[in-house]
Each structure stands twice: as structure tokens, then as C-alpha cells.
């Protein structure tokens, strides 16, 4: 055996060995996609307008507040779109307004345009709008990540999706889909606000209390009115201060607990800054009601009995599960904006397991069908083709396991297609060898010529297939990406097996033959 050939065989066995080592045992080493394992895949849209609107509202409130302190009266302040607000100044104050330092501060982030009747419109600068939207989506992504981690899902995927405001969440093995969805989507905006008046039975009554002219620093929001213990609570409306005393951002921790009546509740603690603010606030408002507002709804409105610094408790009609989930979302922080579900796919674990069985069966059947055909048609050379196809599949599995690529149901289709592609290359070579033999070349020369002539063709066909696989990868998510990945690795492995492994096999067979020997092809 020539030294060259010995090296080739060594390389082939080393690669087969490494591949088997990489994927064995396959149950542990091959990562299965959601469609094979069961689980849920969600696409969420972050309503970035919410975050912008909040930003605009805050700026508008701050400007109005500053003008008020500077003794410049403001006729009205309105948020007119998610990215702009309008402010109206009495004509005689126009000069003072234009000269006020508050205006300079606002204009670092807003563009001002003046309209008729002393109305000015402030719009967020376009580049900042883009930036704010981007930040909102990233912030939402991080919050979801924290929540999913707290849920204890193994190997989740949380990533930006195709459009700028979309997030893809994949939770393998999750069975209680609705709970997961609620936890992910809950905005969890906690605000503690002072109750001015209420509760009222309906919104009209609340407005009536202010003679239908609710001042700008007061807002009317719905909530639960707790009845006497044992009585069901009812829905009502509270008039509360618009500016919260503390918010979820001031939280240090939250955990489920029980209230004095042994009902599930959530206790929270505030960070240093929050505790200081809350201490001052509660001291000034002893004996008044504090509204605990979650996502713009009053959950409960306890009376402030003494000064409180850093500990508090949220009660309400919670179940155990609800108090656990509420503390989870509070701990992981608020979402910066609302989210809606654009897509949801759930695969039950039994369907996944059946798909795996079907896929394995189809793959084995595919190999067997092709094997029978090749042996009939090319006789011993067919064995050669089968060997190189099987080596191809082993390398493919090895690459997938090594890179941690995900096997999906369409990925199994890619696996089976790889069998077809692998055989194709061999057929191309064999047919060429037959043609070369027909021209009267010796077996060794015919084999060499066959491989040499066909090499470029194989390269061309594989590159063309890789081009379409690349677009396929770009087009799809989850399952389809799995297909594109399997196909790509299959193609790459095939260049090696069809050209190198198959040729080496021929060389081994022909090693001890005389020049005149015939070839079983």
C-alpha cells in the first residue's frame, strides 16, 4: 500500500471516529427543535408607540411643571401623537415662554414648531425616535429573558425577529402554554399612587366629583373595591394623583407571602432610593389611602397607618399561582411597552415523539431503497456509493452535534435529501467511469479520469445548491432553518465523501489489480 493511500485511509477513519464521538449517544448530543421535542414558539410585537407615548407624556408634564414654577401659565398640554405633544401659552406670555430655560432643555430632544393661537408642537427628533424604539425592544427582550429564566425553561431562545419590533420566543418542553404566555406578556407596571377621592361606582361619578373638570395632575382609573372579608369585591373607579410616589423601578425584591387572613399576597421591598421617597411620602399622608396600581388598574387601596420605608405588601384576590406569578414578573421588572402575540405554535410532546419515530423510519427506508437500487445497478461499485453515503450521514450528524445545530422535522427531510444528493454525485462519477472505460482506457486510468473530470461539475452543482440553501435559511425560522442547516452541512460533507472517500475506496480496490483487470461497475 502506498504511503499516500495509507494517509488517506487514516484521515477518513479519523473523521468518522470524531463524528461518531461528537454525536454519540444521539439522544443526548443531537439537539431537537420544538417540533420534535414539543413546546411553544411565540412571536411577539412590542408596541413601541406605548414607550414613546410615555416618554412624550413625561416630557410634557415636566415642561408644564417647570413653566408653572417659572410663573408662566399654561392654557393646555396635550399629547397629540406617540411622538409629539402640543402646549398652548397665552399670547401675552409668549416672549417669556420663548426665553424660558425649560424650553432650552426640552429642545435638546424635541423639535419645536409653532402653530396658531399660541400653540406650539414639540416632536421627538427622528433619530431619537428610532433610538427609543430600538431601546424599547431591547429592554423588552431583556425583561422577557429574565422572566423565562425564572420560569426555569431549559434552552430557551429569545431573539429579535424579522421586523424591527418583533421578538421570537421559543420554549422547548413547556406544557402550560397559557401561563407562560401570561407571564411573558404581563407588562407589570407597578405604581404606588395617592388616592385623592373614591372609590366611585362608575367613571362618570368620579368625574362628577371634580365638576367634570378633572385637573391635569389627577387621573381616574378603574380598580377593585375590596369588600368586607368574605364578600366578593366589586369594580369601581378611583381618582388618584397622576405622578406615582414610587414605581416598579424602585423595587428591590418581591416574593409571594400570606396576608393576615392567610390569603396569598405579594410582599415587596424597595431599594434605598425608593425607601427614602416612600418614607417621606407615607409620613406626609398618614391616614390617607394608597392605591397599588398594576398596569393602570388599582389592585388594592390600603390605608396608610404609619410611616413605611422599604417594605410593603400587595393584597388582592390572588390564588397561590397568581401571587407567585405576580412576584415573578415584579422581580424581573416591567416591560417598557405592551406586547401582542403575532404568532403562536404549540407542539404536544406526543406528536414530537411520533415525528421522531416517523423521521427515523423514513430515513432508514430511504437508505434501504437506494441501497437496493445501487447494488442492482452498479453491483460492487454500488457498495462503494453506499459506503460514501453512510459516511456522509455520519459526518453530517457529527457536524450538527458539534456545532449544536438544531434538528427539526424539515431537518429530517434535509437528512433524507442528503442521501439523494450523495448518491447523485456517485452516479455522476460512475457514469463517467463507464464512459471512460468504453473509450478503451485501462481501469485505473478510467477511474482517475472519471474523478478528475467530474470534480468541477460536483463543485458547481453543490455551490448552486448552497446558494438556494442560504436564501432558505434567511427566509425561514425554527423548523425551516433546521432544514437549511441540515442541507448545507449535508452538501459540504458530500463534497468530501463523494470526491475523497469514494475515490480512496476505488484506489483500495484497485490497489492489487493488474492493469488489465475489469471493474465491477
Amino acid at each position: 500500500m502506498s504511503k499516500n493511500l495509507r494517509w488517506k485511509i487514516l484521515v477518513i477513519f479519523a473523521i468518522i471516529g470524531l463524528s461518531i464521538f461528537a454525536f454519540y449517544p444521539p439522544q443526548e448530543k443531537i439537539k431537537l427543535g420544538l417540533d420534535l421535542k414539543g413546546g411553544v414558539q411565540l412571536v411577539l410585537r412590542v408596541v413601541t408607540d406605548d414607550a414613546l407615548r410615555l416618554e412624550v407624556q413625561t416630557s410634557a408634564d415636566r415642561l408644564a411643571e417647570q413653566l408653572k414654577t417659572a410663573n408662566i401659565p399654561v392654557t393646555s398640554v396635550n399629547v397629540v401623537s406617540p411622538t409629539s405633544f402640543a402646549i398652548t401659552i397665552p399670547p401675552e406670555q409668549d416672549a417669556a415662554f420663548r426665553a424660558s430655560p425649560a424650553l432650552v432643555a426640552v429642545e435638546t430632544t424635541y423639535e419645536r414648531s409653532s402653530g396658531s393661537g399660541g400653540t406650539y408642537t414639540f416632536s421627538i427628533r427622528p433619530n431619537l425616535v428610532v433610538q427609543l424604539r430600538e431601546d424599547t425592544v431591547n429592554q423588552a427582550l431583556q425583561t422577557i429573558e429574565r422572566r423565562v429564566n425564572e420560569l426555569g425553561v431549559a434552552e430557551p431562545v429569545i431573539a429579535r425577529h424579522s421586523a424591527a419590533d418583533q421578538i421570537l420566543v421559543m420554549l422547548p418542553g413547556v406544557t402550560d402554554v397559557n401561563r407562560a404566555k401570561d407571564i411573558i406578556r404581563s407588562t407589570a407596571q407597578l405604581e404606588l399612587k395617592l388616592v385623592e377621592q373614591g372609590p366611585f361606582p362608575d367613571e362618570a361619578a368620579a368625574r362628577q366629583a371634580y365638576a367634570n373638570n378633572v385637573p391635569p395632575d389627577i387621573q381616574v382609573i378603574p380598580g377593585t373595591i375590596e369588600g368586607v372579608p368574605g364578600q366578593p369585591s366589586s369594580v369601581g373607579f378611583y381618582a388618584v394623583r397622576r405622578v406615582p410616589a414610587v414605581t416598579g423601578r424602585d423595587l428591590r425584591n418581591a416574593r409571594p407571602t400570606l396576608d393576615e387572613n392567610n390569603r396569598p399576597a405579594v410582599s415587596f421591598s424597595l431599594n434605598q432610593d425608593g425607601a427614602r421617597k416612600f418614607g417621606i411620602f407615607t409620613q406626609a399622608n398618614i391616614n390617607r389611602q394608597l392605591a397599588i396600581v398594576m398596569d393602570n388598574r388599582v389592585v388594592s387601596a390600603p390605608r396608610i397607618e404609619s410611616q413605611i420605608f422599604d417594605e410593603g405588601r400587595i393584597t388582592g384576590n390572588f390564588t397561590n399561582q397568581e401571587s407567585q406569578d405576580l412576584s415573578l414578573v415584579l422581580r424581573s421588572g416591567a416591560l417598557p411597552a405592551n406586547m401582542s402575540y403575532l404568532e403562536e405554535r404549540t407542539v404536544g410532546p406526543s406528536l414530537g415523539a411520533e415525528s421522531v419515530r416517523a423521521g427515523i423510519l423514513a430515513s432508514i427506508a430511504g437508505v434501504v431503497f437506494v441501497m437496493i437500487f445501487m447494488l442492482l445497478y452498479y453491483r460492487l461499485a454500488g457498495l462503494n456509493a453506499i459506503t460514501s453515503v453512510i459516511v456522509n450521514l455520519i459526518i453530517l450528524l457529527g457536524i450538527m452535534a458539534y456545532l449544536g445545530a438544531t434538528m427539526t422535522l424539515p431537518g429530517i427531510a434535509g437528512f433524507i435529501l442528503t442521501i439523494g444528493i450523495g448518491v447523485d454525485s456517485n452516479v455522476l462519477i460512475f457514469e463517467r467511469i463507464r464512459e471512460e472505460l468504453a473509450t478503451g482506457k485501462s481501469v485505473k486510468n478510467a477511474v482517475a479520469a472519471g474523478f478528475d473530470r467530474v470534480f468541477l461539475t460536483i463543485l458547481d452543482t453543490h455551490i448552486a445548491s448552497l446558494i438556494s440553501a442560504a436564501f432558505l435559511f434567511n427566509f425561514g425560522t425554527g423548523p425551516i432553518r433546521g432544514f437549511a442547516t441540515t442541507l448545507t452541512f449535508g452538501l459540504l460533507a458530500n463534497v468530501f465523501t463523494a470526491v475523497f472517500v469514494s475515490r480512496t475506496l476505488f484506489e483500495v480496490i484497485l490497489m492489487r489489480r493488474s492493469k488489465t483487470a475489469s471493474l465491477s461497475i
Partner: protein, 312 residues
């Protein structure tokens, strides 16, 4: 064993017949798509699809009655067991309605089924696709197919000749249209999986063409004085065994997927099976015919020198 060795068929003589035949199939398919609409699966149309399995015998009508409204379509998914797929379209005017409410359609449907007492229900899978995603996928699917065709055409144009690239592209478009037509005729829906199959076909079909073009280039170098028609005909004939055998073995592999791969991959496998046949046909009849039509009617010597330059 050998098949089709030393065949000598004048394939190009049939090019007009084949073009007419292809157009007839495509027109039938496109006509059907135009009248009935392209049968979009929920990946593209949006909507809700729930697959459930009951532990007792249940009929389609019992399920239909259990679900309020009459927009749902119920299909027995698998004969062996009481498994059904229930599909609801996106509610009308979905554009403005709350996306979250839409996403809960599946839960409502399952609650309705529970109430109807049809036996224990196992939820096999649920899918909800909102209007935004559906539209997005339609656009991306179309773009991916076109870009993939274009990418491959550019590659062939660079490696071979411009006329070959056009021939390959026409043949690929032909394959895509025929596959779509036959999918429609057979009543399959267009899903992510069938689009994946079609994109794969684009790559697969081109394999055959590259093998033939490669042989044409080689033959042009050897036989300098023959007209391009003869050269292409010879190349098709020489590679015919390979073309047929490859199609056969790939067909066998994909056929096992069609038989054993389960319901989810059936559409994919069917599209591939159709595609393997049409791409073999289009390689022999369409791609080379277009390449000949676009080739300048110059003496082969000049063609050869051009090919030689490009090959080097």
C-alpha cells in the same frame, strides 16, 4: 446493468412541442389558482389551526356542531385514530381588532370542545398566525424564491455563459410554476414546508442543468466544427443515464419520506416528488432549448474560443 447507453435522440427537435405542453399545464394550474385562489395554508393566510385527538369515536359533524359559527373547517387528520385538524380563518376585520384576542381563538375553540363532552381530548398541536406574520411570510417567501433563482443564474452566468444562465432560470421558473400548479390540482396547501421544498427544487433542478452545461462546454472544446444544436443534443444524450438514475434514486429517497415521514412532511415530500420529475423533464427539454435559442448562430469555432476563455 445499464440503461440508455448510446442513445441518440434529437431532443431539440421536440422543443416546440415541450414548450406547448408545459404552458398547457402551467395555464391549467394558474387558471385554477386564479379562479379558486392560491390555496394558502395558515402560515400565509393567517388563522388558527388546532389538531386534537379524541379517545372515543367522533365524527366531523359532531366537532362542527360543538364550535359556534360556521367558519371552521374540520378534517380527519389521520384515519387510524380519532385525530382531526380544525382550522379557523382570521376573523373578518382582523386588521383593527386586538391581536391578543385573536391569539386566544385556539383556547376558546378548545373550551367549546370540552363543553361538548366528546370524550377526553389530547391537544396534539395548536398554531396561530396573525395577519402581520402571514403577510410578512408571503413577501419573504416570494423574495427568497426570486433571489435564489437570481443568485443561481448569476453563478451559472459567471461559470458558463449568459445564455445558459437564462436557460437555467427559465427551466427553474418552469419547475416552480409546474410544481405550484400540480400542488394546487392535487389539493395541497401552500405552507412554509412546501415553499422550502420549492426553494430546494430550484437548487436541485439546477444540478441537472449544470451537469449538461458542463458536458456542453467540454464537447465544444473537442468538436470544434459542430453546430451548437448538435453539441447540446450530444451532451444531453451522454448525460442521460446519469440524469435518469439520479432522478430515480432521489425520487426513491423522497418517496420513503412521503410514505413514512408523517402528515406534517407529506406536503413537502409531495412537492419534492413532483419537482424531481418536472426538473428532469425541464433539464432535457427546456433549459437546453432556451440556451440554443439564445446562442448566436455563429460557427462553432468562435463559440469554442469563447467557451475556452470562460472556462479557463
Amino acid at each position: 446493468m445499464r440503461i440508455l447507453t448510446n442513445v441518440n435522440v434529437d431532443w431539440l427537435r421536440w422543443r416546440w412541442h415541450s414548450l406547448v405542453l408545459s404552458w398547457l399545464v402551467i395555464l391549467a394550474g394558474v387558471g385554477l389558482m386564479a379562479t379558486r385562489g392560491l390555496p394558502l395554508g395558515i402560515d400565509f393566510s393567517g388563522g388558527t389551526l388546532v389538531v386534537v385527538r379524541f379517545d372515543t369515536a367522533v365524527s366531523e359533524d359532531q366537532i362542527r356542531n360543538a364550535i359556534p359559527g360556521d367558519e371552521e373547517s374540520v378534517q380527519r387528520y389521520s384515519d387510524a385514530v380519532n385525530e382531526f385538524s380544525i382550522r379557523l380563518p382570521l376573523q373578518v376585520g382582523a386588521e383593527g381588532t386586538d391581536e391578543t384576542a385573536l391569539a386566544q381563538t385556539a383556547q376558546r375553540m378548545l373550551a367549546d370542545l370540552q363543553k361538548a363532552n366528546l370524550g377526553t381530548i389530547e391537544v396534539r398541536s395548536t398554531e396561530f398566525v396573525g395577519p402581520v406574520i402571514g403577510r410578512d411570510l408571503q413577501r419573504k417567501g416570494f423574495f427568497a424564491t426570486v433571489a435564489s433563482l437570481g443568485g443561481i443564474a448569476v453563478y451559472i452566468g459567471l461559470r458558463f455563459r449568459f445564455s445558459f444562465a437564462i436557460g437555467a432560470m427559465v427551466a427553474s421558473v418552469h419547475d416552480v410554476l409546474i410544481t405550484l400548479s400540480i400542488l394546487t390540482l392535487a389539493g395541497y396547501e401552500l405552507s412554509l414546508n412546501t415553499i422550502a421544498a420549492i426553494l430546494t427544487l430550484v437548487g436541485y433542478g439546477v444540478n441537472d442543468q449544470i451537469v449538461i452545461f458542463d458536458r456542453v462546454r467540454e464537447n465544444l472544446r473537442l468538436k470544434k466544427r459542430e453546430p451548437i444544436e448538435t453539441v447540446i443534443n450530444t451532451a444531453v444524450n451522454q448525460t442521460l443515464p446519469r440524469t435518469i438514475i439520479t432522478a430515480g434514486t432521489t425520487f426513491l429517497a423522497v418517496f420513503s419520506l412521503f410514505l413514512f415521514g408523517g402528515d406534517v412532511l407529506e406536503g413537502f415530500a409531495f412537492a419534492m416528488l413532483v419537482g424531481i420529475i418536472t426538473s428532469t423533464y425541464s433539464t432535457v427539454f427546456i433549459a437546453s432549448a432556451i440556451a440554443v435559442m439564445l446562442s448566436p448562430k455563429m460557427p462553432a469555432r468562435q463559440v469554442q474560443s469563447k467557451a475556452g476563455r470562460q472556462a479557463s
